[in-house]
Amino acid sequence: MAVTLDQGVSALRRRTFGVAWVRRAGPLCGWTLGGCAAAALLARGGLGWERPQAAWLLAPALLAPIAALVLARRERPSAAQAATWLDVRSGGSGFVVTEQELGSTAWSPRTEVALQAALARLPRVQLSALARPLGLALAFAALALWIELPREVVGPPPAVSAAALERVEERLETLQDALALDPELERELEERLEAAKADSEAGHPESTYEALDQLDERIEQAAQEAELAAQQALAQLGSAANEAQLAKAQQALQDAAQTMGAAGLAKDLPEELERELAQAAQSLAGEPLSSAELARLAQELKGALDGRMGKLAGGRLIDPSKLGKLGEKLSLEDFDDEHECDEECKQPGGT
């Protein structure tokens, strides 16, 4: 088939444009689509966008082929450049550039032979240059849109972790378990906990943490008050043990029981013990208890006190190392079951 110079030049310009577009479009589309897909992934993961909403972020990638078109147009050779290219590829005979310049057809058969040779060597469109980056970018875009993101990743990052809530809740339960709290205080603590939970669910991390901190401080304060009361009760039990007169020792025992009761440390005391303590309180005016009974009651009270403090220490509401020191304050072995004090009775350890 006969080929004119104009046809040859047009064919080369078209092919060069195609080659340039593919070469430009490959990386341009790939990077743009990849960038848009990354943005879509971030929007889904970070901002909690739904898939259709995030898919719109891929739209700017449609501009990449157009930009490649613009850039490829700039690379398209002029007619003179195309003629030079065709001439060189046909062996550099000079027929093509001469006809392109002069427009003379006297040597057209030779020009045509040259053109045929050159057109057989037109640059090839390397589709792989487009397919590889575009394929990778498309795969990434599909992945970014369609993968199931873990729950923690979707939506705003949890401002307040469930663990923080659970920890404070557990401390409150420990306190409630260890002490018979004042109902008003118990209600206040429960309300603070509920408020913190509500703030967390509403996505207000600052107020949630603030509420949790306040609740935790309040729990710690109650535990410390109980610890102080326990120390006082132990001191009273200690003075009961050291008292030479049974009546005064009984009074000290009663004081210790009251201190425990007031601080909520008398929770879950055995009924028998409560009844005996009540009888002991009534008998203060009359016949005092024997030293053996006093020792047993003191022992049971201390046991109850140890149990309460042990629960608080187990829940890390008080320092467990202080438990030992509390125990040291009173050694009930000091009681002498056979001892009967009178006016001359001396203090234990006295001369």
């Binding site: 003179a80 003629a83 060189v88 550099g92 005979s93 000079g94 550039v97 001469t98 002069l102």
Partner: protein, 338 residues
Amino acid sequence: MTTAQASLLSPAEVERAQASAKAVLDGLDRTLIGQSALTRSVLVGCLARGHVLLEGLPGLGKTELVKGLAALVGLRFRRLQFTPDLMPGDITGGHVLETDSRGERRFVFHEGPVFTNVLLADEINRASPKTQSALLEAMAERRVTVLGETRALPSPFFVLATQNPIELEGTYPLPEAQLDRFLFKVEVPPVSSETLETILTTRRAGRPPEHTAVLDEERLSAIYAAIERVHLAPAVANAIARLVAATHPGASGAPDKVKQYVRHGASPRGAIAIGEAARAHALLAGKPAVGFQDVHAVAVPALVHRLVLDYRARLDGVRGTDLVRAVLASLPETAELG
């Protein structure tokens, strides 16, 4: 039809000129067996009205080639053997005191051997620089000035000089200014054993065949006129310009080899030489216009002697031919034509 279109040679005109030139080329090939590239270069140089410097060891047929060329084109030929004691006057001629028929004595100019069409300057690098430079004006301007009188040389006039490689004893390297006036410098390669065998079997004592002129002055002029009309497209001229520019080490398009080994690149005369030689080459190939392949074909002989090489080139054994080929390989238009 534009003027440019009208001036483009027709296929018939090209065919006629090509046939005449081919007849000379065939004759040269018969003279110098197995050296077709050399004979083509010499013919192209002569058709481009340029001077050709042939370099090669003695005994390779340089002189016979030039003699054969002169005989084939039917031009006057003179041979001048350059020796260390040759004086400028021995080339140009001089005034001699003579007595005329009336008995008056006066100085008469006697033309030297330069007054010819084809001057064979044999072993030109054996003469002193002073004598070599006596050829400068004749080669550049095709005229001779003696004692203030300027005399034009016959037309056409071209010098075919031979030189031994400059490494040999008793040689004077040609100055750059004179080298630049040669259109081509062609190396005469050693002949192959097959060629030697042919010479031995076909030629008694190595004598070349006798030639009769295949051209007369009219046909030679027609060839010259045709070469004048061989078209040089701007794209090709642009390639020549960039080619010559790239021989300069400071040029942006110069290849690394040029930057490393060349001290001075080719002069504008080099570009003109390529253009003219490419025209002759194109006509010899039967074309009305110069193509990139013609530029590629003549670039090495047209440029090789115009490059001034750095001392490192000699140390590394890099020759001017290698550097011109590197420049050709660096140009998109000529890179694929090797």
